[in-house]
Symmetry: C2
Subunit: 334 residues, 2 copies
């Protein structure tokens, strides 16, 4: 069954491209307020669940025992752009553990923030594992491994105590069972588990409210939300959607993207979780669909709404700066 | 009406993402040998039609009058990666006209070939219009403007004599009328016209055979095909799909991609044209769909077919080099 078109890309007066997808808005009890497409089919949430994966880091006391700062907690939830401040924060987190980048098992890639890559190239350097967008999350995993007195080597493997804790946190938050048959390998080497889109949305409604969480887990969730709200640059970076939306909305929205067109959002005041999957994996589509749903479910004053419009209907300009088209919500999101 | 799923992306044992699209295979008379999705809806071909846009450059005698080399003709059909050799060829073409990069109206952007960008950054330089993937095409437009004794300034505007010639070549090749209402602005500033996918496929069947072209136009098409077959690196670059497929298949396939998930292919020996549009604009989808259709319609010996398989079913590896999934044809293309 095809999912509905949720986002269109225009050029001149025509629709040039279009994105099908799934989107759902639920409360912490699982009541569905909005649904489009097959929201019961399993999807890999990828990096969108980093905040849930970071719950054991805080709840266990590992982060506090090792003196992790709020910036380090935000970075544990991040897909960062590899900017200098991100790299320094990750290196600082590892230093708190008496480790360095050689302990990271995430692999290296060039920073997604192009000026950071250009700066590396200018200095004749190559990126390290610290530049990997997941280096903060992995530093958090290593912190948990140290705290549990488990070997740090192999912390990305499904059978390692850290990944077993992380999986339990995901199952606890979503209420979904995550069997081995639903497991894939993420870009950074850790397990990623597929579950219904609606389950991830419910997990984020709970993450945003603590409703359905044990007290210590609810406290950990509030702590991570506060860290990201205070340091939204650490969760993505300069010019990035997650960062800019949270800079505008503050603690009223916790937003995290994942590879292959995934977004998970918590709206704590409304008690809602939002989950979006662009079927084709396109980020521009998942961004616009997510913005459209936030605009629908989060009350905003007029100046905020005006500032938010560019996320809902971004313009497309060409290399000469000429306006050539745009991206806009379609179908059930229009 | 939704188009069918043509390409799937797997992770582990699951389908993580999927791409809907349209694809059509026709001969020069317009007989349809394969069709999936709504192939009569208009699509912008974008850079996939650069070879048709270069027909007036050759047919008019402009290229020969100004001593354009075969590499410069290949670059006129190119979306190049901004590698040093591409930039030198474009600069050389402009020098033949007594012009330099200041005459280019395509705008500047960083090379898509990352080492070329890193080299620029290392030298503290920024990209110029020569690095724009369209600089070869624009050099060809300037050559035509000089040859027609028209002003070079404004050569990208719809009313300029060059763009009127280019539009006439597109209409002649496809048999489609291209009214102003179907016009958008391309990434490099020139007009792009939407027409049915099947019309673009027919245009490429004619481009590949000369069937339906006047003799001088047929000769120009053969000249451009030969230039690209001899210099496939110039039409895209290191590691790029168009280049690597043509390095494998030689003059048996003329292949060109365009932004937003478009591919146009001519199979001269078979007398066929292929047109593909990934609805969401995704390049990985259009590449795999195109490869699947080439594999179906172009006879290959066993070693060639074995070497071609990686284009039909590319593997996906993560940052640590672990195989995590793949991309594969689906539905009518499976």
């Amino acid at each position: 069954m095809n999912d509905p078109i949720l986002v269109e890309v225009t050029r001149g007066s025509l629709v040039e491209s279009r994105h099908a997808g799934r989107a759902v808005v639920v409360d912490a009890d699982g009541a569905i307020l909005f649904s489009a497409g097959n929201v019961n089919a399993p999807i890999f949430p990828r990096s969108a669940v980093k905040a849930l994966q970071a719950l054991p880091l805080v709840e266990s006391g590992a982060a506090d025992a090792h003196g992790f700062t709020e910036e380090m907690l935000a970075l544990a939830c991040a897909s960062h752009g590899g900017e200098a401040g991100h790299v320094e924060t990750a290196a600082g987190a590892l230093a708190k553990l008496g480790l360095d980048e050689s302990a990271l098992e995430c692999g290296a890639h060039w920073p997604s923030f192009k000026p950071a890559g250009a700066a590396l190239a200018r200095e004749g350097r190559k990126p390290s594992c610290l530049h990997n967008n997941c280096s903060g999350k992995h530093s958090g995993f290593l912190c948990l491994a140290c705290h549990m007195e488990e070997p740090t080597q192999g912390y990305i493997q499904p059978g390692h105590a850290v990944q077993r804790e992380v999986k339990a946190a995901l199952e606890g938050a979503t209420g979904a069972v995550l069997p081995d048959g639903m497991r894939g390998i993420d870009g950074c080497g850790i397990p990623t588990f597929a579950a219904p889109l609606v389950a991830w949305a419910r997990g984020f409604a709970r993450f945003g409210t603590g409703h359905g969480f044990a007290p210590d887990r609810a406290k950990a969730a509030a702590r991570l939300r506060a860290a990201v709200a205070a340091h939204p640059w650490h969760v993505a970076g300069t010019g990035r959607f997650c960062t800019e939306v949270m800079q505008l909305l503050g603690s009223r929205a916790f937003i995290k993207t994942g590879a292959e067109g995934v977004f998970l959002v918590a709206l704590p005041e409304q008690g809602l979780g939002i989950a979006v999957k662009a079927d084709d994996g396109g980020t521009r589509a998942s961004e616009v669909a997510t913005a459209a749903l936030i605009a629908r479910f989060l009350p905003m004053d007029d100046p905020t709404r005006a500032g938010f419009e560019r996320f809902v209907r971004p313009e497309l300009k060409n290399w000469t700066g000429t306006l050539v088209g745009g991206v806009r919500p379609a179908g059930a999101l229009a």
